[in-house]
């Protein structure tokens, strides 16, 4: 029974339940609204909620758990001897799944009869070719054990889906019956419905926590997998980043240092651009600018924050890079041959810096505005000029908040992807020269996970270790920044 059909049936039952619930309540009150404890709609909602929520919850849980269970039982069928050289259990499992899916497709397209699909044997028919004919590509030739596993997989999945449909519908029906039985003019439908809604609200709020858990678990498990096949010391202290891809053989150098170096270097260039510009812009806007200037300049700067990063990336690659080469390149304005290609740490850093201006400026603007007017008055009253007041009274008072803003901008810079993917180049290097191509943690996550490597190879899994370090660094920066900013706000509240 397909998921869509189950959902549709449950939904229909809920609608029927709503109508019947309202009717039954009205009937029990002899059609007199005033005798009901709650408004009549609540009786209907009560039935609908009891039909929908438990059954759909079970459906979702079932859908998550069933593949795990099936996989466990199918995996048992693959003996260790079947695992080919250079392959692994999980690769085999992927093959099994692909064959099973392929058989499904073949049946759906009519290329194979249902019975044929569940009986095919490798000896008789070349399964790989038959699957290819319906557009499903299977990596290696299908072995007998893979095929058997795939058959089992299909059988289990089919039974599972069948039972799932029955169970979910039964639960829905039970909810339906129970709720209708409850319905009576004295039943406190509103209170029950409101409690139900509150639970739904809490569930929605918990999604944030679930997301964080999802991030943490997906990073941790895959990172552990990675470190099982690649030594941690070589990752954290390696100075060379030279992954070798499948087929070429040989061990890869997956040193983290050149990547974090590139990340930090580019971020620092970006901050060197963004912090002074953003801070001066914020100061001017909050202390000097007239209302009319402010009402124009502030949104214009904020537009910079709303532009998608892909636009900045393209701008770095196609406009700023060539421009810098025209200045620092071989035939450039300066006549120095310092830059060979458009993609460089400087290119990405400059563009990223511009992107960060509004982050620094709007946060700093808020923070500067939070400094009480009394401070300014005190300073002006002593005969200080506006700039003296800003430099010596307002900025020191706002310093913690501004530090927080800069940390947030730094975390943004470290996590930024598209600008560096397009603008910084692909070569990992530990160079000091800002006009040289460098690469970053984020850029390598993209290239390792979108490359053509086998999923379980260290060359691909390293992306999770990179993601983990990225997550930890940015999280630490954010937490520190948020604490600082919050402390600062409290000081003037």
């Amino acid at each position: 029974m397909s998921t869509l059909l189950i959902v549709a049936l449950v939904g229909a039952l809920a609608v029927v339940g709503y109508v019947l619930g309202v009717r039954r309540a009205m009937a029990s009150a002899d059609g007199d609204l005033r005798l009901l404890h709650s408004l009549k709609g609540y009786y209907g909602q009560n039935v609908a909620l009891l039909v929908l929520v438990p059954s759909l919850l079970v459906l979702v849980i079932w859908m998550t758990v069933q593949p795990l269970l099936i996989e466990q039982s199918v995996l048992g069928m693959i003996s260790n001897t079947d695992v080919a050289q250079g392959s692994s259990r999980s690769l085999m499992m992927a093959d099994v799944r692909r064959v099973a899916d392929g058989l499904d497709v073949a049946v759906a397209q009519g290329a194979m009869s249902r019975d044929a699909a569940s009986d095919v044997r490798v000896d008789f028919t070349n399964v790989r070719e038959r699957l290819a004919s319906v557009g499903v590509a299977v990596g290696s030739t299908v072995t007998q054990s893979t095929l058997e596993a795939a058959q089992k997989f299909r059988a289990l999945a089919a039974t599972g889906n069948m039972i799932r449909g029955i169970v979910v519908l039964l639960i829905a029906a039970a909810g339906f019956g129970y709720a209708l039985k409850q319905t009576d003019k004295d039943f406190r439908a509103r209170n029950v419905v409101e409690r139900g809604i509150l639970v739904l609200l809490i569930a929605a709020a918990s999604i944030a926590v679930l997301t964080t858990l999802g991030i943490v678990f997906s990073l941790i498990f895959n990172t552990i997998d990675f470190f099982e096949s690649f030594p941690g010391a070589d990752f954290f202290f390696g100075t060379r980043w030279e992954p070798s891809f499948s087929g070429r053989g040989g061990a890869s150098d997956l040193g983290f240092l050149p990547l974090i170096w590139g990340t930090l270097y580019i971020s620092i260039i970006a901050l060197v651009v963004a912090v002074p510009l953003g801070l001066f812009a914020a100061i001017y806007l909050s202390e000097y600018a007239s209302n009319s200037v402010r009402s124009i300049a502030k949104p214009v700067l904020e537009v910079l924050a709303g532009i998608p990063t892909i636009v900045y990336g393209l701008f770095a690659l196609l406009t700023v890079g060539p421009l810098l080469v025209n200045i620092f390149g071989a035939d450039g304005l300066l006549g120095v041959n310092w830059m060979s290609g458009g993609t460089a740490a400087m290119t990405a850093g400059l563009v990223m810096g511009i992107m960060l201006i509004p982050f620094v400026s709007s946060l700093s603007d808020d923070i500067i505005n939070a400094v009480p007017q009394a401070m300014r008055d005190g300073s002006y009253g002593l005969g200080a000029t506006q700039s003296e007041t800003i430099r010596q009274v307002i900025l020191p008072a706002a310093l913690p908040g501004i530090v927080g803003a800069v940390l947030l901008a730094a975390s943004r810079a470290i996590g930024e992807t598209m600008i560096v993917v397009l603008g910084a180049g692909a070569a990992a290097s530990l160079s000091l020269n800002p006009l040289e191509a460098m690469t970053t943690v984020t850029a390598k996550i993209v290239s390792q996970l979108t490359g053509d490597g086998e999923f379980n190879s260290p060359e691909t899994m390293v992306a999770f270790a990179l993601g983990m370090t990225l997550f930890v660094i940015t999280l630490a920066l954010n937490v520190v920044a948020l604490i600082i900013v919050r402390k600062y706000r409290e000081q003037y509240d």
């Binding site: 007239s290 209302n291 009480p372 009394a374 401070m375 300014r376 008055d377 005190g378 300073s379 002006y380 009253g381 002593l382 005969g383 200080a384 000029t385 003296e388 010596q392 009274v393 020191p396 008072a397």
Partner: protein, 265 residues
Amino acid sequence: MNDMRIVKRDVDMNDIKISAKGVQVYYGDTHAIKDVNVEIKDKTVTAFIGPSGCGKSTFLRCLNRMNDTIDICRVEGSIQIEGEDIYDKRVDPVQLRAKVGMVFQKPNPFPKSIYDNVAYGPRIHGLARTKADLDEIVEKSLRRGAIWNEVKDRLHAPGTGLSGGQQQRLCIARAVATEPEVLLMDEPCSALDPIATAQVEELIDELRENFSVVIVTHSMQQAARVSQKTAFFHLGNLVEYGETGQIFTNPQDPRTESYITGRIG
């Protein structure tokens, strides 16, 4: 200082320090100060009293052009300090404010050390050539602010850590550190408890020896205690201006009398 007594009337008949003629102040379309004429003497405490919203603070802030920081505020008429019109185009408000210091309603020490708070003015105006000069100015100002003994051991503690009364005396010390000639005080005691108020009032009386002090207060008792001359403002008008004793004992204008006896306010 005895609470309700009316201050001894030993007003030095010094020169006129500030003279305001036909001053009008507008906030946007609101006419906040209407044709005020007043002459403020040197080495005298002059009190501005009146119900809230009567314009006394606004007028005080005209005297060192603090109103410049408000965009919609417009001042007409002439205010002269020692014969020089402070609203003249050539006058730099920065220089003016070094000469006419100000203390505010709420104590507003900078989030810096006590020392740096006091040293701030001398530093920006370049009054000290050496560190020793600066130390001396700071000590002298803190003594004048009657707070030296309380803070001399913790000059580098943050000024925001002091109690309210101490903070306000610190702010007074900070204001006198630039050696102003006139000291404007905008309800300096309104955020203080009675004991701190008494200390600040005593201090104001001492400051009179060196400065011309103008104080805005909503408390008639305070005006009576600290000032020699009193001006009564009502709805933007200067209703009556004269010797403090005479204002309180024998007001000329019925409005002054109503205010003093508590019928309007």
